[in-house]
Subunit: 318 residues, 2 copies
Amino acid sequence: MAGLAAGVDLGGTKIQAVVLQERKVAGSNRAETPREGPEAVIGAIAESIRASVEAAGRPLGDLTAVGVGAPGVVGTDGSVSNSPNVPGFETRPVPLADELANQLGGVQVKVDNDVRAAVLGEWKRGAGRSYRDFLGVFVGTGVGGGLVLEGKLRLGHGAAGEIGHTLVKDGGRRCTCGLYGHLEAYAGRAVIEETARKLQAEGRKTRLFRIMERKGRDRVTSSVIADALADHDRVAVELIDEAVWALGIALSNAANLLDLEAIIVGGGLGDRLGKPFVDRVAEAAAPRLHVPERPPRFLTTELGDLSGAVGAAVMVGG
Amino acid sequence: MAGLAAGVDLGGTKIQAVVLQERKVAGSNRAETPREGPEAVIGAIAESIRASVEAAGRPLGDLTAVGVGAPGVVGTDGSVSNSPNVPGFETRPVPLADELANQLGGVQVKVDNDVRAAVLGEWKRGAGRSYRDFLGVFVGTGVGGGLVLEGKLRLGHGAAGEIGHTLVKDGGRRCTCGLYGHLEAYAGRAVIEETARKLQAEGRKTRLFRIMERKGRDRVTSSVIADALADHDRVAVELIDEAVWALGIALSNAANLLDLEAIIVGGGLGDRLGKPFVDRVAEAAAPRLHVPERPPRFLTTELGDLSGAVGAAVMVGG
């Protein structure tokens, strides 16, 4: 049998591993990201890979290559730094590729940016399969993005795709990056939660935090927001209205500049709210398109929260 | 001697023709665009080409190919339609390539979009020579743009590069396209003139229209605006401040999305106001860049108002 490729999506709260066989997910495993520091995180990644190889019904010896999509800055040596949400990876570079290869008996390990991995996953194995020109937008805690142009992942000097930091309102809401009025400041889960807390402190009534507690969460997750919307919670409805408005502006700007075939909307919030949400975003973008008779197709992801892990496996030939 | 290539930039007020020899402008001619209709316009184009061949000191028989950059919609057969500023080309397609070829004794004629021609000119013979990734922005009556990405002109389905219709202020000033708050509604000469007229009607004092009359113009041209700025005319200063602000937003958004090496700012207003203006735009964009330590280079054009005609000649091998 041919060598086995695994892919890992490393996040601030979870580690998602998959094993691909014949271009399909044959096994997967999801684990919480340990809070203790880099050693614990790398150990948990290795463990999650082993569990997904096992789930695929294959011996660990078949594993030949591992791809990892990681947030923050990825060095050419596979080190990861400036990743504020992953314990121990906040500042100085952690040699993730080398240490993970050691733990897994010397398999090939390749690390790349997590958003880029997710775009690759949707492009090669998901909703982007039939397109040569698309933008992938991942609406989660923040808003990440990646471009495929003329059948090639757009890298620039390594920072292309920052749709989350498109200005949608000059002097608007404060973004996680410190600047004001960006898409991420309206559509990213982190700022949505922060804004809901402010509104509550100002006396607005919202069930968002009660739902959060009832679900045993310590953050306003995408599923908490989805429940609040289903409940017609006014604050949640308003905040998601603003997210849709901001996505409509940023995505129509990108479409006008690049004349794209498709826009794929995923990420925690995008996947959770699904097609009705993506359809609303398409409607918000439509009247802003410069060539309205040929709009880009607005699509949900096909791989959902596996986009990143599948793309990471694709990076190493999976 | 090898065959001679000419290039033409067809505009609503002027026709600019050039002849290239050894990649340099060997002859040029500029004429007013006739108001009488398509026949007169095509005749004037042919005449301007003949004059530039003569200026290059070459017999007309050496001319083998002509490229034309035209505003509006260019068909694959070299016809031009939907060009609101060129008399007779406003709606139905005019077979520009065929009729021009007839008038010039059957030379090869190729027609393409004027902005694309200008980007090509700056890329192959101007400020973009050493870049593989740049945005060309032409700030004139409107604001056009074109992208070179990874050493290739970005076409999309034919409408890529519409930086002029980037939203910079939701619900802002009315754009020539009918929508509101676009870059072109702040930086395009047409809306700047319209806004100055409104401000004057509201009682604001401005010398813009007195300067216009003194210069014998019937529109607030780039040189009228330049003179008013030199005069410290308050209205002109404010309107250009807003143009700089809007360019800062739209160009930083594009740079963040695409991670560009350079941005070339030209067009009537860009060329006329020159480096001090482009430097101000760079300063306005800088604090909005997501990776501020590696900003794109902001450059003036090298070919000035010949970008389009030179690029049109390049289209046919000049």
